[in-house]
Amino acid sequence: MSEFECVMEIPEDARNPVEPFLRMDRMPHIWCPGCGIGTTVNCFVRALLSSKSDLDHVAIVSGIGCTGRVAGYANLDSFHTTHGRAIPFATGLKLANPKLQVVVYSGDGDLFAIGGNHFIHAARRNMDLKVICVNNLTYAMTGGQTAPTTPGQVISATAPYGVFEPAFNLVQLAEAAGAAYVARWTTYHVTQLARSMGEVLNKKGFCFIEVLSPCPTLYQRRNKMGDGLDTMKYYKEASKIRHGAPTGECALTKSGEIVVGKFVDRDRPDYLELMRTQLHESLGERYAEPEAVCGL
């Protein structure tokens, strides 16, 4: 018997360790073969395990799009909101119920085009949210149109002659807006990604993780970049881990170097802490803590 066959011998009652974290009654999921979103979910589940989070107190909020469907598969209190509005929904959820760990899980189009304004303001306020952005560089759910992240020269459904408008550098944007934690990985870097996700689950404030992920169906195919596996090879070869790299030097291009790593990890008082401090200072004894009364 070869070693390979030995590994494949799976007992009848064996379960994938991530199953308890997923709504298995909703499987199979809608994601395409080679798509990276499932990989990121797997990393997220491992992060939940490693961070010893109390799952009854973790809520996940998504917007609209392929990544927006993550909330629907996570066996947590989960909210599939409107396009671009996951962050403001999560803001209300967190402020009304501060004991919740609120994770925003959405795509690049959702978080940075239609939701861009909400992103920068939540970062500015240092709202205690963990924002995970699966960046596939396109609008996938609607058929591969240009996103604010699509690199120049790329062919998209709405840029058939090539994208010519400049793209956002998400990690630079997050840092500039005030995020307490900023990291970027690709779906090739599963160990590092899971570790980063675990780190933010134990960090206060607005945390942002960008995960570069393939969309073989619409992005890679249209641009003759091969399939999911080819993209993994590209990620492996083009990625350079540079922790603490200045985010201004980390812009993505169509086929150039991908700088990954943890770029920002700083301590800033979060919104609720700032609010409490200010109101205590102004009102003294008259200030009433919000938690005690929000449950009705």
Partner: protein, 385 residues
Amino acid sequence: MHADPKGVLTGVHFLDGDHACCEGTLAAGARFSAGYPITPSTEVVERFAARIPTVGGVFVQMEDELAASIAIQGAVWGGAKAFTVTSGPGFSLMMEHIGYAVMTETPCVFVNVQRGGPSTGLPTLPAQADMMQARWGSHGDYGIIALCPNSPQECFDLTITAFNLAEEFRVPVLMMLDECVGHMTEKVIIPEPGQIEITPRHLTQRPPEAFHVFEPGENLVPEMVQAGDGYRFHITGLTHDERGYPSMNVEVQDRLVRRLQDKLKPLANGRALCETEHLDDADVVVVSYGITSRVAQRALQLARQKGIRAGKFRIIQAWPFPEERIRELAGRVKAFVVPELNLGQMVHEVERAAAGQAKVIPVSHAGGGVHNPEAILKAIVEAAK
């Protein structure tokens, strides 16, 4: 259940409609508000921002109305009673999330202090031209509840009613003020907490394994749940089944969308909130709401002095429209006169309900002020002929 004393400013006050509305939210148990400044509604949240830190709760000023109108819904699912406030242009932006609140059956309150439109229109002057937008402004088929106060006292009272109805029916309830009522200062009596009835959130008592988040009760309204209680529930704006799971088929769509409308039927019929006077012998009935109902009342007095048998039907709850009441009246009166601060909105509902049995005469006004009572009187005189 009675009001939580912490939020109730018992006493006799001299308040404008916006401030009275804010006191109504606090008395109703609202402990979260998200807002974005816009004239003539901002005073509501300005007062809330000043009051809430000593009551216990949160006000957050968001980056726009899109954010404010969804942040309140996050707060509701976190366990709070919540509301937002806006006017014309902001109300247009909030349509997206009125739809979301309808679809996810999120109990919450939207206050719209109506000003003249379209677009930026008349920021500081009254109109009642968002009435159809309130009913139909978000896409798709749905129902909402809308209330129209005509005084600061009613801004307080009806705001409490709005929160109570939101919890009972699990819909967004729209408080349709107008600039005149919002900025008018009058005596407002705030009762003792023990005299204020509050509808508590109907949180499920079932264990998580026996609970489906959108399984309706006999009244067609599902039980509520909140994040952090171990239910691991899922909500979505997609068409969904009783478990909250997306389901893209004709049967599920039909069952869900019909229920979202049907659950409000009791309000369209027997329970419709309205105020009537002299209907028994009326030849002409003046149908009005909000600030216009006060001006119309003056016209009614003048008409009665002239010996015209004119009656009053004041719409307090504009949506669901009190169509049974109007239909019944249409069978026995000559005409309805419908003054409103728009070029004809609720008058179409009156026409629909009257179904040709009685004349329906609009008295339109493009907004920016209120009617001259004489204009309404003239229409009453014509209608009585």
